[in-house]
């Protein structure tokens, strides 16, 4: 019922220079690996990318960064990437750092038809500079505006052909809100099953938010392998 693309290249075909993209994931967990690689191959430029992090030097969004395809990055933590640091210092990239909860809520609001909201996060800090602050019950809150995107590229564990999605463990993170906030949302999934094969009570993202599917093997690189002996 939703288009199932045969290749990552086909799935990102509609992306043009200057567009705003949301990309799911926390660190390297839950990122749409193959769709990012396809964006690198496509070479689209001047992108505004909204994602919690910006990958590492040789994987995830770090690859788009290395290829100088990102004009502006909106995220909460970009500290794992040397190339990012270099581009910030040289002025090649614009960065908008947003508290993580505010970022999640801006994206949620964008997909939910809420243009702006008040949050306590960032009051009295540089984050609140130039923004309206209002007092409720004696406490200060700062006005933050919603975010939307031309495309959202997300990652899920399972999809049915309607486009209903189920995520695995902490690979859920920003993906569900981004699904709703993208004008067009493409989900890279590990497995596509027949419609009706997923338990409706277990669906994380209802199919209405998803415009296309792409099935791919995931490499799932681990950023910090930590084990106990």
């Amino acid at each position: 019922m939703k288009p199932i693309y045969n290749s990552a290249k086909e799935a990102v075909a509609g992306v043009q220079d200057g567009m705003t993209l949301m990309v799911g994931g926390f660190g390297l967990v839950g990122i749409p690996e193959q769709l990012i690689l396809a964006l690198v191959d496509k070479g689209v430029k001047d992108l505004t990318v909204i994602s919690n992090n910006c990958g590492v030097d040789d994987w995830g969004l770090g690859l788009l960064l290395k290829n100088k395809q990102i004009k502006k990055m909106i995220g909460s933590y970009v500290g794992e990437n040397k190339e990012f640091e270099r581009q910030v210092i040289s002025g090649e990239i614009e960065v908008e750092l947003t508290p993580q909860g505010t970022l999640a809520e801006k994206i949620r609001a964008g997909g939910a038809g809420i243009p702006a909201f008040f949050t306590p996060a960032g009051v009295g800090t540089t984050v609140a500079e130039g923004k309206e602050v209002r007092v409720y019950d004696g406490k200060e809150y700062v006005l933050e505006e919603a975010l939307r995107a031309d495309y959202s590229f997300i990652r899920a564990a399972q999809a049915d052909k309607f486009g209903n999605l189920i995520y695995n463990m902490t690979a859920q993170n920003f993906n569900p809100m981004m699904a709703a906030a993208g004008k067009i949302t493409i989900a890279e999934v590990e497995e596509i099953v027949e419609t009706g094969d997923l338990n409706p009570a277990q669906i994380h993202t209802p199919s209405i938010y998803v415009q296309g599917l792409f099935q791919a093997e995931q490499e799932k690189r681990i950023e910090r392998l930590t084990t106990r002996s």
């Binding site: 660190g27 508290p99 505010t102 999640a104 540089t126 463990m169």
Partner: protein, 217 residues
């Protein structure tokens, strides 16, 4: 016991049976190692997990299961996964009992600076600015002084703030200090230090009233 372990061990005493707790990256993460076996504590990870378990064995490693420090972890029985908006709703909504964070500076009004140093590369605040506004009790744990010996507990923070008037308690390797409406109240001085030592190592004014001295951890 080194000073990091000492701080972590003292911080653990602030956690009550049944608490939901968020531990920041660095020394705060160590607190998990000292949680008493007679307390049931649920650790929250802001990337979408309630109920962080121990680090996995090599066989247990799952690349889709990490904590907010991006380390591979496990889950405890009774854990739950959720998205990032839900995660911060439970943080800002006041549902988390205790948040334990590291700091670069704390002021006498309870202002916290822990996310950037001007002139150095800005990495981002992650979830810290949200966390300091939601948890019922915000505990800062850190070395009492900076590496060069300068005070970290100041009249006013010089570094850019993470949050204004958000800290409830400061625990260092030398003392425990509460942030009150009247200012910073010195409550405990740990073994090996005197009240005067703490005053000398603290730039902010300290209220000295009913201090427990020579406290061993």
């Amino acid at each position: 016991m080194n000073s990091r372990e000492k701080i972590a061990r003292r911080a653990e005493k602030e956690i009550e049976n049944g608490n939901y707790v968020n531990l920041g990256i660095g020394i705060p993460t160590l607190v998990a190692n000292f949680i008493s076996p007679d307390k049931t504590v649920v650790l929250q990870s802001e990337n979408g997990l309630l109920g962080i378990g121990p680090y996995p064995t090599e066989q247990e490693v799952n690349p889709d299961l990490i904590n907010a420090g991006k380390e591979t972890v496990t889950t405890i029985p009774g854990s739950a996964f959720f998205n990032s908006a839900e995660s911060f709703a439970m943080i800002r909504g006041g549902h988390v009992d205790v948040a334990i964070l590291g700091a670069m500076e704390v002021s006498e009004k309870g202002d916290l600076a822990n996310w950037m140093i001007p002139g150095k590369m800005i990495k981002g605040m992650g979830g810290a600015m949200d966390l300091v506004h939601g948890a019922k009790k915000i505990i800062v744990i850190m070395d009492h002084c900076a590496k060069d010996g300068s005070a970290k507990i100041k009249k006013q923070c010089e570094l850019p703030l993470t949050g204004k008037a958000v800290v409830n308690k400061i625990i260092t390797e030398r003392a425990m200090i509460e942030v009150t409406e009247n200012g910073l109240e010195l409550k405990e001085v740990f073994e090996g230090y005197s009240v005067q030592d703490i005053i000398d190592a603290t730039e902010a004014e300290l209220i000295i009233n009913n201090v427990r001295e020579n406290v061993s951890i």
